[in-house]
């Protein structure tokens, strides 16, 4: 079947009930979405489907034909980081970093919809995602920083 991942069409030869996570990681060799629980309890596997955060570990690809799937790789690169990536680097918002791509994708979904989300809204939005290293304060700082980068960029475009 065909999957639209990071704005490219991919022919995927996998059983339709295969969770998206394994297709992303093993077939498309994308590293960012992580296996954390396989149960939709931790958010390490979070990607965007039509702009909404989903747990890729429990979402079969059968449901995804024709939908726009975005992974962290689709936002930017080390050389050209997206605002959320730039912000996480600047805030040094990682310890082990395993949960971080899922955190970033969930935050990205919120900021795409509501760039001016309040601190309380951001905290509530991140509730499904777990971090075990205790990087939460930095993750919050990074998301606020990403908001500022995005707002500045928008102002730049407008001006």
């Amino acid at each position: 079947m065909k999957l639209n991942v990071n704005k490219a069409q991919h022919d995927v030869d996998a059983d339709p009930h295969t969770p998206l996570l394994y297709v992303l990681r093993d077939d498309l060799k994308l590293n960012a979405a992580k296996f954390g629980c396989g149960l939709g309890q931790c958010g390490a596997c979070t990607v965007l489907v039509n702009g909404e955060p989903v747990f890729s570990c429990v979402t079969p690809i059968a449901l995804l034909e024709g939908k726009a799937i975005t992974t962290l790789e689709g936002l930017g690169t080390e050389d050209k980081p997206a605002p959320i990536q730039q912000a996480f680097i600047e805030a040094q918002a990682a310890q082990c970093g395993y949960c971080i791509p899922g955190m970033m994708m969930r935050a990205q979904a919120l900021l795409q919809k509501n760039p001016r989300a309040s601190d309380a809204e951001i905290r509530a939005w991140l509730e499904p995602n777990l971090c075990r290293c205790g990087t939460h304060m930095r993750i919050l700082r990074a998301i606020h920083r990403a908001q500022r980068i995005m707002t500045t960029a928008q102002r730049g475009e407008a001006g």
Binding site: A14, D15, T18, P19, Y22, R25, D26, K29, L30, N31, A32, K34, F35, G36, C37, G38, L39, Q41, C42, A44, T71, L72, E73, G76, T77, E78, P81, Q85, F88, I89, Q92, A94, Q95, C96, G97, Y98, C99, I100, P101, M104, R123, A124, L126, E127, N129, L130, C131, R132, C133, G134, T135, H136, M137, R138, L140
Partner: protein, 762 residues
């Protein structure tokens, strides 16, 4: 639990001697390997060299310079997400006087790096950082000597700058041009010409971590991301409970499933290998359904744990025996504290890749100790050690001995079953939480006497604990090895001696008590699988000591911070305590940070806001850390939340201040999660906390509003590990804040909403 005033009984004067000799325990959370133990590394008698140079004295074991000027740093320590790669590179760049960007680092690989044991116990900067600091300084001197020869100038007139030696006439000699042949293959000397800390360019600087860009852009950052050509996927079918014996497993149907390459069975070790990952998962599920086990486990009653611990046979270890008769009229208090089994709970379940090529095995693993894990795997596989190579690749944060080593053992067995192909083993969430070795349950009983001046005149402390290290070396430390047809026995547990300590880590109070007794009841019998969890016994001992210090402060009618200062002589300890208190705005009547909160009471009893303080020096030999915090209690639910925290830390010479802050912030939040929520559960046969619903941890709704970490730099003083310094103080600070808010002392961990609600009676 009991708080009571007991009548003072006469106490005989102690011998005044510490029982343990202060032999330098070689590695981190473990004592020096027993030379007779299987898998023990044969280390030569250590010459008096700094840090890990003791065990690997050649300079080129640590630093190599290529002809093009590129510099490679080697360390036997592993990146666990603590930022060690960056910190070690900073140290090397500093003492080499080289550009940070020209340096690369190779870590923890049995074929390439020094054997530095485990990356544990907050030892990496102390062991590896110190070795690299001296090796780099000595390499710089060798390069200066060579340049001086070529320039015909005296070495003392040569200087270095950004990877080159500069002669008095301005001529530059690039390091790459100077290095030839075996120039760096020389033994280190005990003394180095270290830079003057006033000249430091890279230390005490917030250099961005070298590993973060890949982690936030989908780079290949983890062993979970490692996919060599020809990779196949292994999954293990673990027994349903400890010690269960596989009776039968009809593999025929499973072997016919799409993509399945083979089912592997050796005794009660059962696994499947498939071409694709989800095929392996489906085959694992089918195989688990087809397997029949005889279960034998008899687990203890989780509700009766303290009594159970106290009833187990024990070996008594006198940690401190310096008791003197207490003054008459002393006011005595006593209390009992308990903690449950706590899970490491890595977000990424353990994973490893292994490949058998001919008679040689390579394992890519996120173990904390590539050499000891290599030894265990070689013994289990009955292979010579030199035919097994373990290469560290980062995994999800481990916080001690989680499933990493076991997964490496699993992968090794499957690689042997399918020679030539790299086999990737990924544990499930349920396997990780059910099979990892937990931080042990513990109990503490403490009694103390206050004299007329409100000072502690006598301290009597007892703890009950299993071992805190069941790590490899021996093959039997690996789960798989214990379930093979020819099984390896579980190794005998040992007590890590003080001053590092295991269960008794930090049981020796740092305070100047005139009379002290500390007794460790070491419990060899382990009803639940246990091993090293970040800070070992220090978490529980500091929680107990610092909770009880608050109880004693109240008994003395003294502010908790003032009470601690009254019992602290070490000026560095005093400065950390004072700094945290000042930056927090601590006062005997601390004001709530949020307007509207009631703040005009001598105590905050009955209010929903409380303040807590705690302090410790990790192991009494690593970093100092004091934490002040504010907590709020929801009277409807009983739920406690840390609202804000201020920490002060002294880690000696600071290498990367942001790295230290990151470690302390993380320690506070992780310890708060342990303290408020966490508890491994089991029934009489099986572990029942096997996912994030049955083992809840901190989520964002409970994250504090703010957190500050203040770092006190000590230029030129030794590096003090800071990775675990926050665990104990954070637990006690939260508990003290809850006691301050509710007027009720909670001495049993975790301090859950249910327990608070039941105690405050709403």
């Amino acid at each position: 639990m009991s708080e009571m005033i007991v009548s003072r009984r006469a106490v005989l004067a102690g011998s005044g001697a510490l029982i343990f000799s202060f032999s330098s325990a070689a590695w981190a959370q473990s004592p020096a390997p027993d030379a007779n133990a299987p898998g023990a590394a044969a280390l030569p008698p250590p010459p008096p060299l700094p840090g890990s140079l003791k065990h690997a004295p050649f300079l080129d074991s640590w630093i190599r310079v290529d002809a093009d000027g590129a510099i490679t740093v080697f360390s036997g320590k592993a990146e666990l997400g603590q930022g060690i790669k960056t910190a070690l590179l900073q140290v090397a760049a500093e003492q080499l006087d080289a550009n940070f960007d020209r340096l690369k680092i190779v870590t923890a690989d049995t074929a390439r790096t020094a054997n530095e044991g485990y990356t544990a116990g907050s030892h990496s900067m102390q062991d590896s950082g110190t070795a690299i600091m001296h090796a780099a300084a000595q390499v710089r001197q060798l390069l200066i000597g060579e340049a001086a020869k070529r320039a015909g100038a005296p070495p003392e007139r040569m200087t270095t700058d950004s990877g080159a030696v500069v002669a008095p006439n301005g001529q530059r000699f690039g390091y790459g041009d100077l290095v030839a042949g075996e120039m760096l293959h020389v033994q280190a000397s005990p003394q180095s010409q270290l830079k003057d800390p006033a000249q430091y360019k890279y230390l005490n600087r917030r250099i961005p971590r070298v590993d973060i860009p890949a982690k936030v852009t989908g780079g290949e950052a983890f062993v979970q991301d490692f996919r060599p050509d020809g990779l196949v996927h292994g999954r293990i079918v673990r027994p349903p409970s400890y010690g269960a014996v596989l009776q039968s497993a009809d593999a025929a149907a499973v072997e016919k499933m799409p993509g399945v390459i083979k089912v592997v069975r050796d005794g009660s070790f059962l696994a499947v290998i498939a071409e694709r990952e989800f095929q392996a998962i489906e085959a694992m599920r089918a195989l688990a359904a087809a397997a029949h086990w005889q279960e034998n486990a008899k687990l203890p009653d989780v509700a009766a744990l303290p009594a159970l611990l106290a009833g187990l046979p024990s070996r008594e270890i006198k940690v401190i025996d310096q008791q003197r008769p207490a003054p008459a009229n002393a006011k005595s208090l006593s209390a009992t504290f308990t903690r449950p089994y706590i899970s490491h709970g890595s977000i990424g379940p353990s994973c490893a890749v292994a490949q058998m090529q001919g008679d040689a095995l390579t394992v890519w693993t996120h173990t904390q100790g590539v050499f000891p894990d290599r030894d265990a795997i070689a013994e289990m596989m009955r292979m010579p050690k030199d035919k097994v190579r373990c290469i560290h690749v980062q995994g999800s944060g481990c916080y001690g001995h989680n499933g990493a080593d076991d997964a490496a053992g699993d992968a090794a067995l499957l690689a042997r079953a399918l020679p030539g192909r790299p086999v990737r083993v990924q544990w499930t969430r349920e396997q990780e939480l059910a099979w990892e070795p937990y931080g042990p349950a513990m109990m503490v009983k403490v009694a103390a006497a206050l004299d007329d001046s409100g000072k502690i005149a006598d301290w009597n402390y007892e703890l009950w604990s299993n071992t805190h290290s069941m790590r490899p070396g021996p093959a039997g430390a690996l789960i798989a090895a214990r379930y093979l047809a020819e099984p390896f026995p579980e190794p005998k547990p040992f007590a890590i001696p003080m001053p590092e300590g295991g269960g008794d880590r930090n049981s020796n109070p740092i305070y100047n008590f005139p009379s002290m007794k500390v007794l460790h009841h070491f419990l060899p019998e382990m009803p639940i699988r246990v091993s090293a969890l970040r800070s070992l016994g220090a978490y529980m001992n500091i929680f107990s000591i610092e909770s009880f210090m608050d109880e004693l402060a109240a008994g003395a009618g003294t502010d908790p911070v003032e009470f601690r200062l009254k019992h602290l002589d070490d000026p560095r300890a005093r400065e950390v305590v004072s700094t945290a208190a000042e930056r927090f705005g601590w006062s005997p009547k601390p004001r709530a940070s949020t307007p509207g909160h009631d703040s005009n009471h001598d105590s905050n009893h009955g209010s929903n806001i409380g303040y807590g303080f705690a302090f410790a020096r990790y192991k009494n030999l690593a970093a100092y850390c004091a934490i002040a915090c504010e907590a709020e209690i929801n009277h409807e639910t009983g739920r406690a939340r840390m609202v804000r925290a201020v920490a002060a830390v002294d880690s000696g010479q600071v290498v990367n201040p942001d790295g230290i802050a990151n470690q302390i912030e993380g320690a506070i939040l992780q310890s708060m999660s342990w303290t408020l929520y966490e508890n491994v559960s089991f029934d009489d046969r099986r572990i029942t906390s096997v996912d994030w619903a049955t083992y809840p941890i901190l989520r964002f709704s409970a994250v504090p509003d703010s957190m500050e970490v203040h770092i006190i730099n000590r230029p030129g003083l030794p590096f003090l590990g800071s990775g675990e310094a926050g665990q104990g103080p954070a637990a006690a600070a939260v508990a003290n804040a809850i006691a301050n808010a509710t007027g009720i002392r909670f001495r049993d961990l975790p301090i859950t909403a249910e327990r608070i609600k039941a105690a405050i009676g709403v």
